[in-house]
Amino acid sequence: MTDSLSQLPQVRKSWQEAWTDAIKVWNPYVLLREPTWCESVLSAKKEGLSGSFAMIRLIDHRIVIDFESVIKYGVEEFAQQILAHEIGHHVLIPANRYDNVGLIRRMRLALAGIENRVPFVANLYSDIIINDTLQRVHGLDMAAVYARLQQGVSIDSPLHTWYMRIYEYLWGLKRGLLSGKNQTPAIDADASLAASLIRSYAREWLDGAGRFALLAYPYLIEDAQYQKARNELIRHLDSEKSGEGGEIAGGMAEIDDSIADSIVDPRSEALSEAEDEKDQAKKPSISKQKSIQGGTGPKQRYQQPGVYIDMMRQANPSADDNLLLIRYYKEIAQPYLVPFPVEESSPLAEVLPEGTDLWEPGDPIEELDWFETAVTSPVIVPGITTRSRVYSPDTDSSTSPNPYNLYVGIDCSGSMNNPRHNFSWPICAGTIVSLSALRAGAKVMACLSGEPGSFLETDGFIKAEKDVLKVLTSYLGTGYAYGIPRLLTEHIDRVKGKTHLLIVSDDDIFSMLQAKSPTGKGTNFDIAQQALIRGDGGGTFVLHSRRNWRPKEVGVLKNMGWNIHFVTDEKEMLAFAKAFACQFYDKNRKR
């Protein structure tokens, strides 16, 4: 310890000097702040670095170096290589948060069933791509760094042997220099395939990610083997949490068919090529791949919400589950939202004077405003004191449509799916109509209710998208139906303008309607009727039920003025939501 302390100032100085050279290896114009130099493991830990001696954070593009570990591992003389490696994570792989999720997304498909290993494998893959580029293209002696790091290290895990054997193949190193003594013919074959892969996909590294993960798969299946490999390779793990703290990358809820094409095991590829039965014969078809990925939602194009959250949390371990779920349903709803309202201008409108502007020689003489010019200065200097009047058309329209406020009440009783675990059509529909209403300028009040039991609602009618979606994507799982007494809320009376009431439920709503009102007068049917009058914007029940099951009760609701929309398959809610949003909130729609 004393020894390392005495070395610290010298090591720090040499690393600081190496920083500029390390940047130049990639490109002298790379803009990166100087790394955070930590003098102890403890201070490095506070920066988020543990296990390794260097790391990068994509959120603030900051490299962290732990000098205590640098000295402990004996790599203090390799400042340029190590710093260039970390910069490689910034400029080459994963480079940005979007590609980081892309990398994880591909590897998750390859490591089906053992997805928790993905960040680990992604880190190993990133490192090897960067190191080979540095060694081969930029001429840095990365082999020396690895030779030092591997000195005296115990290599019992087959994955560790395989991984280091790849480096030996790539750089033509003597067998065992990095990989120890436990090679087997199978490890050799896999490492040789991996080395070819690294070279082939050095530029399009995202396309090679799935293949690399499939090569690693057999070494990671068993939990004990994975743990052993992880412990042995921990000092190399510098980018596992690089995406931590970042914004949520968009467009990741949808399944990308093109990704499935790159999830091919190089072993099968090699064998099928040899047998001249290339491509289709051994590769699962796209439809099969889709089933592997478990497509759900509209057109079965989306991942399950649980899978999505899990994936996004691997990219950013500190991401908020609720925000991820909101993002998930929002992404799915996006294509079905009404277009942004556009202002219609009337070309025949009156023009009104609106201030003055400089009149310059060359401008039409009739535009010169002599009065304003004289006011500006009694001495007339063209282009300096001359003014012209500016007119603008008066487009004020007497018929500006006011969108109805929207009350969305969704049944969240025990019969409903938890939208966090499985894709929920009612929540998707609720998201579409709510976001469309907000886009059109309306206010929305969302209420989840599973009663008798519990309910959750927004604080009145609001315009905050996040708060509305936070309520919609929550889950109660109590009671048997949407609680009609929720419509007693006084927010309906308080909000300015008319309100349309939209209730999504199923058959059980009729039992709820027939129940005694909590006010002590009449039944919940009366509450529904009163709410309709108070809202003054109509109301719609969307019921997962059949038209002919409860004709009498349906008749009562219709007489009150409620619209009833039946769906026999929850998927039909999407079409309903689209039509509803279009009818009430598409201002651009030709009527």
């Binding site: 069933g113 395939l193 057999p218 099968s268 938890n418």
Partner: protein, 189 residues
């Protein structure tokens, strides 16, 4: 003793293979390169016997197009000056016996386009002529040849395939069981 070239030098030489050597071989009466004539010319060249009679018979009818193409690439490889300096008698066995298996499992274009396949060819030739590439020991050369040997690699892959599939299947079943249990829990919510 003649000094053998480094493997990188041979790889570089292979990658410079002119288009004429890569043209389709003559087979079944169709126009193309007369592989037999080419091979015999190369043998005359490295044997320093320009007027010798036919040295080796190549029955193009019986051989695959891939094997004939590989022979043509080998002919180009043998134009490296090193092969003219050593005893040439090894080439008879080489052309007759060593190319059939490997030609059937590697795409012809890969021999010159793919770095690793070019290395495999270079090492195969060096092994057949009995020399160790410059700068390597015999053990290193053997180990390195093993690492790029397609036949050996496929054999290992074929052997390990079943084991990997079995492990994957066990894992899949475990995951399905876990998912079913989780679904039951959610269902009760």
């Amino acid at each position: 003793m003649t000094k053998a070239p480094a493997i990188s030098e041979l790889i570089h030489h292979i990658k410079l293979c002119p288009l004429e050597f890569l043209n389709t071989p003559q087979k079944n009466g169709k126009n193309g390169v007369n592989t037999e004539a080419l091979v015999n010319d190369i043998i005359r060249l490295i044997a320093h016997e320009p007027t010798a009679a036919r040295q080796i018979e190549i029955q193009s009818k019986k051989l695959s197009r891939e094997e004939l193409s590989l022979m043509q690439i080998c002919c180009w490889t043998l134009t490296h000056p090193f092969f003219a300096e050593i005893d040439h008698r090894w080439v008879f066995d080489f052309f007759k016996e060593k190319l059939t298996d490997i030609a059937s499992i590697v795409k012809t274009a890969d021999w010159v386009a793919d770095e690793e396949r070019a290395e495999e060819l270079a090492r195969l030739i060096m092994q057949c002529c009995g020399y160790v590439p410059g700068g390597e020991t015999r053990e290193q050369a053997l180990d390195r040849f093993d690492s790029v040997n397609t036949i050996k690699r496929l054999k290992v892959l074929e052997e390990s395939k079943a084991a990997i599939e079995r492990a994957r299947e066990i894992r899949r079943q475990m995951e399905e069981k876990r998912a079913r249990e989780a679904a039951n829990v959610y269902g009760r919510e």
